[in-house]
Point group: C2
């Protein structure tokens, strides 16, 4: 049942091989000083950094560097970014990277002018934003989080062993995002498949809720089918433009609020995965993969009809002459086989989790 909801997504997307040039259309809309935010330097190796800086210079912008955003952005890095943004009174944060860089950019955008500790206000207390927000633009180089078209911003606090995501409102969404599938070609396979599973799990988290008839679930099934097909091609040939473009596009629509409309969601795999991340600093998508099969087999009996539908509509399990339990279990079996085909990490031990961490991880799931 589609209940009462609001839908608005102000992010403008430029998609395709030629999309970087649209920076020239967007930059004039913002002020003089641009904070260039990026990660560990891979964009310097693959040439994207040089291309972006050339466009910034051609537009006469003053560039303030903010490098070194780590895969799980820390609260210490957030404080540093806020200081850089404030001291230089930046007019736009241009995030060049993957979901971590985009998440971090949004966290800085709401935190730079926060009058108290943003970790406490926006993460521990989850308050609404009531201070000025610096606009964010993204150039995506890694696919999975959907951060390019939503208000999510996950930050990790290693001291308190907490990894928390705040989903901000549409005033915090990126003003624009540039999505060039070719920019994702050089990503190591481990990162690529972790991103693919992050997408798949975003859809699952929203899909496995409710047994009513809801258009959102039909859209979700379409996105999952497209993603499964494209990812199987991409692991064979990472430079297949068609496959990489479909993966990029499913990532955006898996987590830009659309398929959650009319749904109640608890995001439990992400909650567990993030707590694992706070203890291990493991790659986000892999933490989700490691806990998924155990989790979904655990909840399957509580939502049998939905898992049956998942098996038939997403995995083409033939239902004839089988019990609902058998059909549902076959669906999860095909999902598990697909995950192994991608080469995902399938258990916590392989991520470095030890038994003494388990209680702490459990405590961190719902901090």
């Amino acid at each position: 049942m589609l209940g009462n909801f609001e839908y608005a997504n102000p992010t403008r997307l430029y998609f395709g091989e030629d999309s970087l040039g649209y920076l020239n259309v967007e930059l004039p809309k913002f002020g003089q000083t641009i904070m260039l935010t990026y990660g560990g330097g891979s964009i310097k190796k693959n040439g994207i950094y040089d291309q972006v800086v050339e466009i910034l210079r051609a537009n006469g912008k003053t560039v303030v560097e903010d490098p070194g955003v780590m895969p799980n952005p820390t609260v210490e890095k957030l404080y540093e970014g806020c200081r850089i943004a404030r001291e230089n009174q930046v007019d736009l944060i241009l995030a060049v990277g993957g979901g971590s860089v985009c998440d971090y950019a949004k966290a800085v955008s709401v935190s730079a002018y926060c009058e108290e500790d943003p970790w406490e206000k926006y993460y521990l207390r989850m308050e609404d934003v009531d201070n000025p927000v610096i606009p964010v633009g993204c150039v995506l180089t890694m696919v999975g989080t959907g951060s390019e078209m939503n208000g999510g911003a996950v930050i990790t606090n290693h001291e308190s062993r907490l990894k928390i995501g705040h989903v901000f409102g549409d005033n915090v969404f990126p003003k624009f995002s540039i999505l060039n599938p070719v920019f994702t070609y050089t990503l190591p396979e481990y990162q690529m498949v972790a991103g693919i599973y992050d997408i798949f799990n975003h859809i699952c988290e929203q899909y496995f809720s409710g047994e009513d008839d809801n258009t959102s679930d039909y859209i979700s099934e379409g996105l999952m089918r497209s993603l499964i097909r494209a990812s199987r091609i991409a692991i064979q040939n990472p430079a297949d433009y068609e496959a990489r473009s479909n993966i990029m596009w499913t990532a955006t629509w898996a987590l830009n609020t659309l398929i959650a409309k009319g749904k109640t969601t608890d995001w439990m795999v992400h909650m567990i995965g993030q707590s694992v991340g706070a203890y291990t600093d493991a790659t986000h998508g892999m933490t989700l993969a490691a806990v998924s099969m155990a989790y979904y087999r655990h909840i399957m009996p509580c939502g049998l009809a939905k898992f049956r539908r998942f098996a038939v509509n997403v995995w083409d399990v033939s239902p004839e002459g089988k019990s609902d339990e058998t059909i549902a279990a076959e669906g999860l079996g095909r999902m598990e086989a697909y995950m192994k085909e991608l080469g995902l990490v399938m258990n916590l031990r392989d991520l470095g989790v030890t038994e003494d961490m388990l209680e702490g991880i459990a405590d961190g799931v719902l901090p």
Copy 2:
């Protein structure tokens, strides 16, 4: 293959039984004078008019009436609306009605301050908008066109026997739209099923193009499956909230630019249907239904793989042991049976088309 494209949709949607109250959130964003645009008066009978006017008054707005928008809005009515909008210097056009009222409101919004004949500039010559645009908001009472979240605005010129749609850019999209499924309950069945087929055909027009692997087609399949299921429930029980809400939501996403991304489309059924409409003034959705089966059977051999996929993924045709032609034909057979189940008009004669009109209708398809 997803090619190069831009995606941006600035329309804010409020969906659900309680959504009308959000007018109180939107109205303060606009100036003093609101042009209240509606159709033949059904909103006065079902009480929606009174509810809207009460909210406008409570917000202290000056209301300028613009009633009488006909099902296929004429160029004469467009001129009248432009005059009313200009003379009263209206700050917002509030369209309360179905696709015709919303289309017309957008046509007035771009035409009121057009310095030459808007029919010639924006319809015959299809030029870009270079004059001020009056913002539009919609309260939807009839479902099908998707006009609530796009830039489309079809206008009919009976004198020259032309019905032409201009798809304007996102600066012309409604600023907000209010979607209350309950408002659609009182619609006569003929209008309801015509709207349902309009939605279905919007998806077909974008889906039947290209045999590449494109996420848009997977989303389209999901939307079609949801629509088929919901519409079968709605014709049995028009007051089924779940079904009517899913129909309303599929309508919006069938034509708000998303499923056209990375696609080339020719909109040929709409081109033919609109030309039929210019001659008969028939209900839009019925003109599409009347020409669809003949058209799709005609083009099927040119895109066999896609029609085969349509049969299997949308209509659950079992492909085992059958030729592609047989599978594709079975899919179209199920589509035809579904259309008859809805009670759609299946041929041009029943819409009042006579043989002497055929040449003129053909000439009007690509004016």
